[in-house]
């Protein structure tokens, strides 16, 4: 000790850190490492979410009606995001197998959903895919043609103009997306309204035979459904003599069952969920809006405040071209404006 020169002692003491500084550096390292681990866990999901969300739809302003082919009904789309924070989303479900090129797919399902956070009310209006109505892309045709002609933009503009509603956002889901979502959340429980038997159900998922058929039989009653059987339940319509109204009701049942199951999920499930549905979901809802909406979702738990509407008779009737349905706008619009002010 006595032999140590003063300069060497000073250098040695500089190489030694004082305990407080060591503690701070260690704490920072722990925080940094934990953050890195969490980032690695959530990053793939975040990337998928960023790719799927915030899709620009560039709706024409002030009203889509100005560019539309003169629709019959009143098309005074009123952009009303009420003070209550209410918003309207158009859910679109499509075939997206390789029978179709690119984004030119038909929408098997169109459901208009209005959410009123202040009253915890949700209204789901199923729009018949076979409804014969003016299309935003020009002319008149089945509602499910709109998306194939002009993507989400055309589908939204068509619904806004025909039904006189303002749509804030859209969510598009492919067939595989529905299967994967239900499988990744471990299936859903549902009371199937009736047995769904179909001898000519399309064999176009997970197969090379895109134009083949298969027989399906989803039996009636309470049951736990995986993604494939849930899709069979909501997609079959060969046996529904009243067009696809039965299918619309079943789609609403499955959506509510998915919502019930989703309430049991935790944030840590998001990566596996995102990986499963990657590429099968597109939405105009931004990530930050999703983050704001997620806490709301679990508070909508009163079944009496969830309204489901199907535009069966007297709102529609058969006899339109190509097996489609004529709308009775005089009956439809008051109903729509009651729930979608």
């Amino acid at each position: 000790m006595l032999g140590v020169k003063p300069g060497r002692r000073a250098r040695a003491s500089r190489r030694r850190l004082n305990p407080l500084r060591s503690l701070v550096i260690s704490a920072l390292a722990v925080v940094l490492a934990a953050g890195s681990g969490s980032l690695a866990y959530f990053l793939p999901a975040a990337m998928i979410a960023f790719n799927a969300s915030g899709q620009s739809i560039d709706l024409p302003t002030p009203s889509p009606t100005s560019i539309l082919f003169s629709p019959t009904p009143s098309a005074s789309a009123s952009p009303t995001v009420a003070a209550s924070g209410a918003f309207t989303v158009l859910l679109l479900g499509s075939d997206d197998d390789s029978k179709f090129s690119g984004d030119r797919v038909l929408t098997q399902s169109m459901i208009l959903v209005r959410v009123v956070p202040s009253t915890k009310q949700v209204t789901m209006l199923s729009i018949p895919r076979d409804l014969w109505a003016p299309l935003a892309t020009g002319g008149t045709g089945k509602m499910d043609w709109a998306y194939s002609y002009g993507g989400a933009r055309a589908a939204i503009a068509t619904v806004e103009a025909d039904f006189g509603v303002h749509i804030d956002d859209y969510i598009w889901v492919g067939l595989l997306g529905l299967i994967r979502v239900i499988d990744v959340i471990g299936g859903i429980d549902i009371v199937t309204s009736n047995p769904v038997l179909d001898d000519y159900y399309p064999l176009d998922v997970n197969t090379n035979s895109l134009y083949g058929y298969q027989r399906i039989a989803v039996l009636g009653g309470p049951q736990h459904l995986d993604g494939t059987h849930a899709l069979e339940y909501v997609r079959s319509r060969h046996n529904d003599l009243q067009s696809d109204f039965g299918r619309s009701r079943r789609q609403q049942q499955v959506l509510l069952a998915i919502r019930a199951k989703a309430k049991l999920l935790s944030a840590e499930d998001i990566p596996s969920l995102a990986q499963a549905i990657g590429g099968e979901i597109k939405t105009s809802i931004s990530i930050d809006k999703v983050a704001r909406l997620l806490p709301l979702a679990s508070s909508f738990d009163d079944p009496s405040k969830i309204h489901t509407i199907v535009l069966a008779s007297p709102y529609t009737h058969g006899g339109a071209p190509d097996g489609s349905l004529f709308p009775d706008w005089g009956a439809i619009l008051p109903l729509v404006h009651q729930y979608f002010p």
């Binding site: 190489r15 490492a33 890195s36 866990y41 000519y200 027989r215 736990h224 596996s272 079944p303």
Partner: protein, 373 residues
């Protein structure tokens, strides 16, 4: 010198451990609802758990399992076996379901297939997938001479409805009789399912339409082939999946009242008529209620939490029957008067605590529970 190097090494190690650890920890925080279910044989009820009387046969994942003396035994491999029911003598009637058709088989109580009773595969050189047929829910009649089942014939075009058929035990569907021809009914509903032969007729679930096109289910009774029969429950009750007490004096079923719930409901029964409906369980998604062979209670399937797979439950009869039976049940709205001298269920709302038998299984809630003494 040593202190800085040591601190650097320590921090590097700490960061690796914490980084990897937090990644792995988050993975373990995933909800348990997506975990695969256990096979019944892997999830034995505990020795102290409630033991159901007799032997029950259930289906999970296309395989049949028996439950007796509190232990599960696997009867078959998972090859589409489903919807078991016991025959006199202890053998089973079961359905073997493939991707496009299904057939009825007899099977020993140990799980050995004995005889294929129907042949519903399309003819060998048929190019129409619609030439295949479905058959579901076979059940033997109380006299042991006929098998009742749901069969998708006749069918026309796209419309595939199930009708109730009967066939001789030693015969075939070619010698069978149509009891309810659903293909003649207007509009597709799915048809008539889950026939339960009773003395003097058959009780089954019929799916029908409301004027607005929505579908409801009703429990019906028919006393002869080809007769229209009559409903035992109202359209608004939306009831299905009937099961009878051993003496055929009580009927258990599920009623949804048009909602995504399913209540366990019982009613007295006699000669094709039911008494007042009494809700036994109203806070679970109940499926396939089945009376114990000794009448001691009702077993059923239901998830522990809504949205999870279905588990096996039991509710003792002592919890929903009053100690003192009254002489006759009062008729329900829409049902025929009941002359039954059966005991009457409690009119007050019941608060029951059913007994959960299994925890982590995934029993098929569309498959019947076969239960014998």
């Amino acid at each position: 010198m040593i202190a800085k190097i040591s601190l650097g090494a320590f921090l590097a190690l700490l960061m690796v451990v914490v980084g990897v650890g937090s990644f792995l920890y988050l993975g373990t925080r995933q909800s348990k609802i997506v975990q695969p279910p256990e096979l019944p044989t892997a999830a034995q009820p505990s020795p102290n758990a409630f033991r159901l009387p007799g032997t029950m046969v259930l289906e999970q994942g296309g395989a049949l399992y028996s439950l007796s003396n509190g232990r599960f035994h696997q009867l078959t491999t998972p090859k589409g076996w489903t919807q078991p029911s016991f025959m006199p003598g202890g053998n089973l009637l079961v359905v073997k379901r493939s991707s496009v058709f299904s057939d009825v088989w007899t099977m020993s109580r140990l799980g050995h297939p004995i005889k294929q009773l129907t042949n519903n595969a399309a003819p060998r050189f048929s190019y129409d997938i619609g030439d295949n047929h479905w058959v579901f829910y076979p059940r033997i009649s109380p006299d042991g001479r006929s098998i009742f089942l749901s069969y998708d014939s006749p069918k026309f075009g796209y419309e595939v409805d199930l009708s109730v058929w009967s066939m001789p035990v030693n015969g075939s569907l070619r010698s069978g009789r149509v009891w309810t021809d659903e293909s003649a009914a207007p509009g597709y509903t799915g048809g008539d399912l889950q026939p339960v032969p009773v003395p003097g007729g058959v009780v089954f679930t019929r799916y029908d339409r409301n004027p607005d096109g929505s579908i409801f289910s009703q429990v019906w009774y028919s006393n002869r082939a080809g007769s229209f029969g009559h409903a035992l429950t109202t359209p608004g009750a939306d009831c299905r999946e009937p099961s009878f007490a051993p003496a055929f004096n009580y009927l258990a079923m599920i009623c949804t009242y048009g909602a995504q719930v399913s209540n366990l409901v019982i009613a007295s029964y006699a000669n094709g008529a039911v008494g007042r409906l009494q809700t036994v369980i109203s806070n679970q998604m109940v499926a396939q209620p089945t009376w114990a062979p000794d009448g001691s209670g009702i077993a059923y399937l239901a998830p522990v939490v809504v949205a999870e797979p279905f588990q096996l439950w039991f509710v003792p009869a002592t919890s929903f029957f009053q100690p003192k039976p009254s002489p006759s049940p009062s008729p329900s709205a829409g049902a025929s008067p009941s002359p039954s001298p059966s005991p009457r269920p409690s009119p007050s709302p019941l608060v029951l605590k059913p007994i959960q038998i299994t925890q982590y299984n995934d029993f098929d809630a569309t498959s019947t529970l076969a239960w014998a003494a």
